[in-house]
Symmetry: C2
Subunit: 428 residues, 2 copies
Amino acid sequence: MSNKKLSTKPYKGVRDFYPEDWMFQKWMFWKMSEVCERFGYQNYNASPLEPSELYEAKSGSEMINNETYNLIDRGDRRVTVRPEMTPTVARMVANRARELPKPIRWYSIPNLFRYERPQKGRLREHYQLNVDIFGSDSIQADIEVIQIGAELMKSLGAQEKDFEILVNNRKIITTLIQQYTDSTEDLYKISKLIDKKKKLTTEEFNSSISEILSERSEEFINTLETTNLENAQEFADKEDIDNTLSIITKLSALGHTNVRFDLTLMRGFDYYTDIVFEFFDTHPDNNRSLFGGGRYNDLLDIFDMEKIPAVGFGMGDVTAKDFLETHGLMPQLTSHTKVYIGALDTSSLAAAETLANNLREESINTELDFSCRKYDKLIQSADKKMVPWFIAVGEDEVASNTYSIKNTITGEQKNSLSIEDIISLVSN
Amino acid sequence: MSNKKLSTKPYKGVRDFYPEDWMFQKWMFWKMSEVCERFGYQNYNASPLEPSELYEAKSGSEMINNETYNLIDRGDRRVTVRPEMTPTVARMVANRARELPKPIRWYSIPNLFRYERPQKGRLREHYQLNVDIFGSDSIQADIEVIQIGAELMKSLGAQEKDFEILVNNRKIITTLIQQYTDSTEDLYKISKLIDKKKKLTTEEFNSSISEILSERSEEFINTLETTNLENAQEFADKEDIDNTLSIITKLSALGHTNVRFDLTLMRGFDYYTDIVFEFFDTHPDNNRSLFGGGRYNDLLDIFDMEKIPAVGFGMGDVTAKDFLETHGLMPQLTSHTKVYIGALDTSSLAAAETLANNLREESINTELDFSCRKYDKLIQSADKKMVPWFIAVGEDEVASNTYSIKNTITGEQKNSLSIEDIISLVSN
């Protein structure tokens, strides 16, 4: 044993979840699960350890080396601690592509790991709901996953005015850029700039575009700003526009009227082939992207197999919590323990224990304090642990086999109750 | 993108959890949670990434280097992917030792990682229920955690005859060994041999003991085999014997009559200072340790702080599943999805969707199949996905606004139901 004092802090950038913290996480995970299951999605999971090759196939080795946790095992296998769930779910679907009945509707709430400088909303470990539908190229699938996102926001307490849903089609913006350049390199550069637009000043963005498109840059920027789904017909394919419009119209018919087209929405560079969407916080204190996703029809190519179209989204727990806090929507959670029983002395311990076990048999969550301390100390513990009901057991209770029960929240007390009385009081 | 075909297999020694697998895991986790919460235990969690120093302090660097996954981050911090939860929970308790109301009753079901040769019941990643009580040195605490273990077995469907609970006190066996040697090195060696006794042949064990104790070895081995709690009084402290006996007697009074003293029970070398216990499968096909734990009063020493006594146990998911399978106790789980709605053609899609959303509003989990395939294909998907109710929506249904619903398990069908009829049928 070393003499140097060992730190009690967690590893830098990750969180300890004390019971009150984890209770909130579980509440959020439950909300997420509930909405996904309401749409018939099934919960899957996998190990956070994955072969590094899984990520290199699509993201390139640069991301793997710079942003992820990697190790080499003694069999010389390169292992990555998963930074995102999509490659894993694609791998699992590919592994049973033939047997799984389509469309596959799956969700998961994994923890993901990225090596990055910890900052607000960007920890080294976070949880992320992943919702995906595989095996359908119908826009019904796009609509459904966006609908799930919107229903989830509602389920978390959000109103339509609290957020916007931005929708774009990668093919529309790509067609536009191609009006201005034939070079795939320039297409890539411009797409990347548009993706980062919100993080750049107008000047930075304009001058970068102008470096690529020179005299046509002004026209391009103007088109970017003024294009809606109607005038996009001037350059884009009718089918792409119709699909995008159908999605927005259908969501509106489903009661989600806060959906709008945003030609500049890119959602990063990985995977997405068609529709992309983003839930955006409208609150002035938290004016930012909440979560998003899109269609990725080509991802399973990395496994050298038949195409399986897919659409999905990911919603991070930290961003979701920020949203709840900003909008005053954090839930009031109480302990799962319903009754706290304290023995006042060792001779009353057996009776206290019997009472506790009687309540437990009725599925009433009951904590027994066998420290045999004074009344004040016992009820103080019950209070600190936020347990709503408190019973002290001493000589009198043992003699009469009746008990006083106190509500630690209201302060109300009921006396001379039998065990049956207590069970019926606490169960209601 | 590489041309080499990428594997769809998970990393060696870890598991993919397809929906049916994860459904079982969640069932087991729910059983575990339910029993712990019935005793007032609160759920905590932490990241699987921990500073390597946390493990070296108690386990020594040998274990860390040979049996765990390690990496060095770019801040030159040494990080270990947690192989067990106890150091983490000790760290979290130490971090808030003053504020947390005692006794602290906590549980968690983390995934743990060990670099080892994969074999039955020993994967590189497994889940483990951890139940601990901190801040009480009363034997009531030892009794309570063993009681939780026994209640959990019951909750999983086990009967008393299916398993035994072995109890020992580290102090009793240590006192015995000290009758035979003054050397702490020999004490350690003998303790280690006793811990491995069940994995050695009688010959191997006896000759190893004889190497250490020479002519007194036969007497020692004989004492090991014949000692019960009564005749242990000849060498052990009365208090240690009384405590051990009280635990067994009390558990018996609580209805757990399958508890017995086993002088040779050690439960490894980490942490344990007093009582140790083990749940042991009595089935001839699975005659093995299921799980166990004990009291570890000194662990928080590594944080150079006031002593906090603790007792707890860990129960692995793989061993628990083996037990359920051996004893024919695996649960029959069905899909969380209640209704599968299939549209027969595109013109019926809107009606199918409305029906699905109506059911969802009533919290009925409903999957909508918008692939517009034939009846047989649709019901086949519902069946494969194990969804109990199936509704096809076509021209007739749209015209009449009534539906036929089929139970995919019994084959029973009801016709001409309104949406309200369906809601009331499926909700019951």
